[in-house]
Amino acid sequence: MTKSSTFRLSAREWLEANCPPAMRTPPPEGGIVWAGSRVHFDSTEQQQWFERMRDKGWFAPDWPVEYGGGGLDASDTRILEEELSRLRCRAPMINLGVWMIGPVLLASGSAEQKARHLPGMARGEVAWCQGFSEPGAGSDLASLSCRAERDGDSYVVNGSKIWTSYADRSDWMYALVRTDPAAGKHAGISMLLIDMTTPGVTVKPIDLISGKSHFCQVFFDNVRVPAENRVGAEGEGWQLARDLLGHERRAMSKFGDNNVPGVDFLALARQLLPLADTASRPLLAERVARAAMDEHAYKLTLQRAHEAGRAGQDVSGLVASFKYLHSEQNRERHELLMALAGNEALGWEGDPFDETLLKLTRQWLNSYTYTIAGGTSEIQLNILARRVLGLAASGG
């Protein structure tokens, strides 16, 4: 038996024994544990699963054991992920520390920073949030204006960050700040680690058109941050952020795996179609078929990209189209279901409405977010046109 099959068997055995059956079902909305100092569990099973994985070091399976990680190599880490997925285990927690800033500290942090921050991340004891986006900057991240002025051993931070997920439940933030306004757009940016309890930090949750959200706006009013909390050198922030965002897809896919299951488009459409007025019914059915065909085509495209990639073909163009296609198709499906559900999809809350249809309505409103967040559809099209199709920038 090879080393890897041995590991696979032992991992599988451990997971079977330690992942409570209730944790092998899709989580309800908001049902994933947000790790940190104010961690809260909805159930005993949730807590068990959290603690067992933590103690095993498997919140960060590939980190060195000295920092609280599992010490696995890349191959065993992948095997562990496969087994977690095979058993449909929920993510034991959400933790931007382990997923995002942790790897950057491992690679570029000082010895002190590693020793101070990594174990807390790996044990899920410290909640981290990301302070990159700013009001008024939109997709143009590098135009950020949140200012950090050096004052002795500290930086004094003034400005604001927006779209920060769970800032209201976070202990620390990793943030991009402008340390040198005179330098070039990218060159003047540095990365700071900011304790959210520092005086001058205010967090305001953001309401969306779909209702409450995990997004917050964070305000900094003369917030003093020790200079030792700067990651890398001054002006290196932009490069570090690029490294960090390389981990984002992986992190997002974990979010994705554990996403609240959406309403089942086809099942709901089949249920609503017979209730539609006679004249509109065939037209609605055709639109459903069209959306279903588009979704079918998209799934086949994912599969084709996977196969072609494995066969060594260049699939970068295909992959660059996924975010655009997925979010636009998702919008379209929700618009259609809204038309099918008619009056019954006009509910904001309350018993008289069917629970699935209330969920549909919120999801419809939420679907607007996906064509904007993480690079708007327009940015995606720019990327496709310029990088994939090779068209020159900017004619007018």
Partner: protein, 374 residues
């Protein structure tokens, strides 16, 4: 048919614009929502005092000699600030029905109250998810001198605040229209919380007794009257949606002219320019449909055809513009803080009410004899 407003229409439009801008501006309507209120009762009384509730109703019963297009003009201005009004339910749908088919006695019983705003009425019609005025299952039968109603209505706009209900029922296989107090015995009313924060309720009717004179019309007459008031309502909703589209378009255009990204104005990106230019042409097409439908509302033009055209076209365009408005505003477009979301939600409700654009398109196909070709 004339497609520009006359002098009197312009004056009413201006005074409605003033009223909503000062009395029910968007901030006030947002505040109502945050308080969980569906409308401002005092402001509604002020509208009554302006005579709006009595538009196009018999003068001798307290009505006002202004053509029906007046209500569409008011509704459009209300749309701009997202103000709720009692006019669509009470006047267009309910009083309008009474004026068309009620007996003199029935008119005397109900119209003065509706025209003055002392009574508020709502039409109980839709039973399923999508608007469908021909599939009515709420049943009426005769018992002695009375009628008994049994069944349910899924979505009655202004149903919570209404003291009077106009109910579409099926009677011996025909459509019949009844009028009765909303608190009649046997009625269960469940308020609904809608995305546009307006008033609506669900109704259950269990052996609800209606007096003999509660029957307004039945059979062909009932169907025709219902068709007429629904067409009028469609035109008012079209006018409202068009007004909202214009606000959203203008807001988005302004944003594109001010907002910078990567050092240049958003509005200078040609891809966005072409999208805005296309929306502009769509908006103007829809505007012409509304203009023609306003004429039809006042008797000059094919009411059914122009109602289907106007609501179909404005609904389609409004959805498109609302979606583009959110998208082109980017991140802030999806925040509740921005007004766009409020308009978007209202459009979804107005689009569904009295038949969405797909429904209207099938109506239009029917009216131009395409369905017969099948």
């Amino acid at each position: 048919m004339t497609l520009i407003l006359g002098e009197e229409q312009r004056m009413l439009q201006d005074s409605a614009a003033d009223f909503f801008a000062s009395r029910l501006p968007l901030a006030a309507n947002r505040a109502l929502r945050d308080l969980g209120l569906t409308h401002d009762t005092q402001a509604w009384h002020e509208m009554d005092e302006l005579g709006w509730s009595g538009i196009a109703l018999p003068e001798e019963l307290g009505g006002l000699a202004f053509p029906l297009s007046g209500i569409a003009l008011i509704q459009a201005q209300a749309g701009r600030t997202l103000a709720a009004t009692p006019l669509l339910s009470s006047n267009i749908l309910c009083a309008g029905t009474l004026a068309l088919c009620a007996s003199d006695a029935q008119q005397r019983d109900w119209l003065p109250g509706l025209a003055s705003g002392k009574l508020r009425a709502a039409l109980a019609l839709d039973e399923g998810p999508r608007h469908d005025p021909v599939r009515i299952t709420l049943a009426a039968h005769r018992v002695g001198d009375n009628w008994l109603l049994d069944g349910a209505k899924a979505m009655v706009m202004d149903g919570t605040l209404a003291d009077t209900l106009l109910v579409a029922a099926t009677l011996d296989g025909e459509t019949a229209l009844f009028i009765l107090p909303a608190d009649s015995a046997g009625i269960t009313r469940t308020p609904l919380a809608l995305i546009d924060s307006r008033d609506a309720a669900r109704f259950a009717f269990e052996q609800v007794a209606v007096a003999a004179d509660g029957l307004l019309a039945r059979g062909n007459a009932a169907e025709q009257v219902l068709a007429t008031v629904l067409n009028r309502a469609r035109i008012c909703l079209a006018a409202e949606m068009q007004a909202i589209s214009r606000v959203l378009f203008d807001t988005t255009l302004d944003y594109l002219k001010q907002r910078q990204q990567y050092g240049v104005l958003l509005g200078s990106f040609q891809a966005l320019q072409h999208r805005m230019a296309r929306l502009f042409t769509e908006l103007e097409l829809a505007e012409s449909c509304v203009a023609a439908a306003l004429s039809a509302l006042d008797g000059d033009g094919d009411l059914a055809l122009l109602a289907a055209l106007a609501k179909g076209k404005t609904g389609e365009v409004a959805l498109k513009i609302a979606n583009e408005a959110v998208q082109l505003h980017g991140g802030i477009g999806v925040t509740d803080e921005l007004d766009i979301g409020l308009y978007l939600k209202r459009i979804r409700v107005a689009e569904a009410q009295c038949g969405d654009h797909i429904f209207q398109r099938t109506r239009y196909a029917h009216l131009i004899q395409l369905a017969e070709a099948l």
